[in-house]
Amino acid sequence: MSIEIKMAWRNIWRNSRRSVLTILAIVFATMLLVFMLSFQFGSYDTMINTAVKIHTGHVQVQAEGYRDKMDVRLVVPDPGAVDDVIRDIPEIETYTSRANAFSLVSSSDRTYGVLLTGIDPEREAKVSTLKKLVRRGEYLAQEDTDMALVGELLAENLKVNIGDELVALGQGRDGSVAAAVLKIKGIFSSGEDKFDRNSIQMPLGYFQDVFSMRGAVHEVVTLGKSLEDVKKIKKELGAGVRGMDNDGNLVVLDWMELMPGIVQSIKLDLVSGLIMYVILIVVVAFSILNTFLMAIFERTREFGVLMAIGMTTGRLMRSLFLESVTITFIGIILGIISGGMVTWYYQVHGILISGASELLSQYGLPERMYPQLSVLSVSVGAGIVLIITILTAIYPVLKVRRLRPVEAMTAV
């Protein structure tokens, strides 16, 4: 075997210019893929984490049907019992309860429709980023009652500021009219327009009084240590909630079910990306196919001699295949190194996509993006290049099978 490796290695450098160009083509493709995939995975991570931290947490317990209808009557009637179940699941780091009601909110001269959310200030701060998003005023304290946090765009629309009063009008759990006067304690900004334009947070206890919730909530939100825990949490929480023996009205939903839009748009982005990469690599493959072909055809006479002095076709093919594979691996390794370095640079410094903030905020992404170099992004990128290049290398090698020593030696 070692003689074959040696032969392959020397053969590669017989025409160094050609080999270098071929390797460069592979380096280019690998580098591009490693970088692009790292960039995509990085943006997915940001997207998911932002959304999970602002909105859904990792896994929630809700009444069946609440996700689609957000009906104030579809409640988790006894959140305390759910909390007991949660405390037995070690993967769940923190949890909290929320209640929501769509309400008409008026300032002295404006009225808007708003999603009012009741939160438990202390526990909420551990689950979501809300506390950090408060830009003016203060976050809610545990003992607050008629205080509220207002989204920045909503505050602008309502023309209100810290200390101003809002009147909220909605429908309680029992169908009665629910009304409350709230004092603005803080103004938050998440960067996600829809959320900042459309939401008000108030203390859960006061919310339950105003909306006649009788101790019920709409969502019990849990957060695990990382996204990897979600499956396990969902399973255990599901078993626990079923074991609580209420009428089977409760469901356990993970963030993917709560935000199907995000999951699908990631899929869409990934699939369209992969299609592009495969097309690109096929173009590269045809670009280098000629090198592989030529490396073999210009040496027909040589092969004839080798075969005449007793080299089997199998061994010859192995040696030639080794040649192409070596070129491929050199290219891919250099590609991973250079792609990794480029990615690493931007991972530290970030890429400023100027002028696209409008677009990015739609996905909850900041204007400066950070690619995320990972085993996955490197191996997927390099893997695609490897598979397609190796397939390309096989075709010319197979041609050798038909060579006969005498004819080969007389070939020009």
Partner: protein, 407 residues
């Protein structure tokens, strides 16, 4: 003679020529086809945006953009109407609307919607709603209590045709106006968000509910050719003073779509470049091989008195044929794939919620943009010849004696 020589030379080794041509063909095809798909996505987005109550140009009260509330309505619509009928070309369609945020309630549910008061007849010729009603009937001009809502909203509210729906909003006096409507029609739209957001009543009943008098929120204009939007918007600005009116084109009204358009522009050309680099390596390598195996030949030509520049030209001619053949086939393939999909489109309904999230339609139809085709072909031809200059110059540099002695 160059042409003949070049043409014959590329067919001396047909396999090699075909391989590299395949690279060019796939490359050009990928440029054209994926470019057309991206254009299709963005064009569809623009079209959706424009028919979803935007139009090409809108006129609002000057304060509306900053603060879209009922007080910022146009209280003298006759001024706007007069200006429109004077300035707009005769084949332009336009309408006036009342548009306001409202809360919809029925016995069991409540939620935020955008209440749109329309002139049924004029509206139908401009926006999607004219053809979108799938159950019940479209509004009639004298319909005082009829309301059309989206399918998604009807599902969310557990309601159906003939049921009551109460709308509440702030009126011009700062009070809360409310009015009960009966659902007379249910519409479907490209986006679920549209179905959830908009409810339609006649403009007269909206004005009455909001104590708006004759006031309107906006005039929306659909031009025969959207490219005229800037020009016509400018002439409208000349008549409607900017102190009381705000004239905007769809680019300003749909910032998200405009941003997507810009990004795609940038992205398509980047894609062209990346694909070119991928095949560039192959082009250089192939021509290089073709040159090096003919060292003796070039030496002989030079010995016979051929100038170096002629050799460069000869090699470039070969590369030109390779590129042109690949481009022609690539273009043909690209156009064929676009036309094959022109009827059915690519159905991505399986990912509908992701599409919704990205503001895309469920079915994508590729669209050929001449500018892109020209750009793709130019990139391949110009850059292709440019990289071929390297082997060509190499060939021209061989000294006759050395080259002829080469084995």
């Amino acid at each position: 003679m160059y042409l003949q020589l070049g043409w014959r030379n590329i067919w001396r080794n047909p396999r090699r020529t075909i391989v590299i041509m395949t690279a060019v063909i796939i490359g050009v095809w990928a440029m054209i086809f994926l470019g057309a798909l991206m254009r299709g996505i963005s064009e569809q987005m623009v079209r959706n945006g424009i028919t979803t109550l935007t139009g090409h140009i809108q006129v609002h009260h000057a304060g509306f953009r900053e603060d879209p509330i009922i007080e910022n309505s146009i209280d003298k619509p006759e001024v706007v109407k007069a200006a429109l009928s004077r300035i707009l070309p005769p084949d332009t369609r336009w309408t006036t609307r009342v548009r306001v945020d409202a809360i919809a309630n029925n016995a069991r549910h409540s939620g935020g919607v955008t209440l749109v008061g329309i002139n049924p007849e004029r509206e139908a010729r401009i926006s999607f709603i004219g053809q979108a009603v799938t159950e019940g009937a479209y509004l009639k001009a004298d319909d005082k209590y009829g309301i059309i809502i989206g399918k998604a909203l009807a599902d969310k509210f557990d309601t159906k045709l003939g049921r009551k729906l109460v709308l509440m909003s702030q009126d011009t006096k700062g009070g809360i106006a409310s009015r009960a409507f009966r659902i007379t029609g249910i519409f479907r739209a490209e986006m679920e968000a549209t179905e959830k957001q908009f409810v339609f009543v006649t403009i007269a009943s909206a004005q009455k509910m909001l104590k708006l008098g004759d006031g309107i929120s906006e005039a929306s204009i659909l031009l025969a050719d959207y490219k005229d939007a800037d020009r016509i918007a400018d002439s409208l600005k000349g008549v409607l003073s900017s102190a009381s009116y705000d004239v905007q084109t769809w680019r300003e009204l749909l910032p998200f779509v405009t941003a997507v358009l810009k990004m795609y522009d940038w992205f398509i050309y980047l894609w062209f470049l990346v694909i070119f680099i991928a095949m560039g390596f192959g082009i250089v390598n192939t021509i290089l091989m073709a040159v090096f195996e003919r060292i003796r030949e070039f030496g002989l030509l030079k010995a016979l008195g051929m100038k170096p520049w002629w050799i460069v030209k000869e090699v470039l001619t070969e590369s030109f044929f390779l590129l042109i053949l690949g481009m022609v086939a690539g273009n043909v393939l690209g156009f064929m794939s676009v036309f094959a999909l022109a009827g059915t489109g690519i159905d991505l309904s399986a990912l509908s919620e992701g599409l919704e999230f990205a503001g895309m339609s469920r079915i994508i139809y590729p669209v050929i943009v001449v500018k892109d085709i020209v750009a793709a072909n130019l990139v391949v031809l110009v850059l292709g010849l440019l990289v071929s200059a390297y082997p060509a110059v190499k060939a021209a540099r061989f000294t006759p004696v050395k080259a002829m002695a080469h084995t």
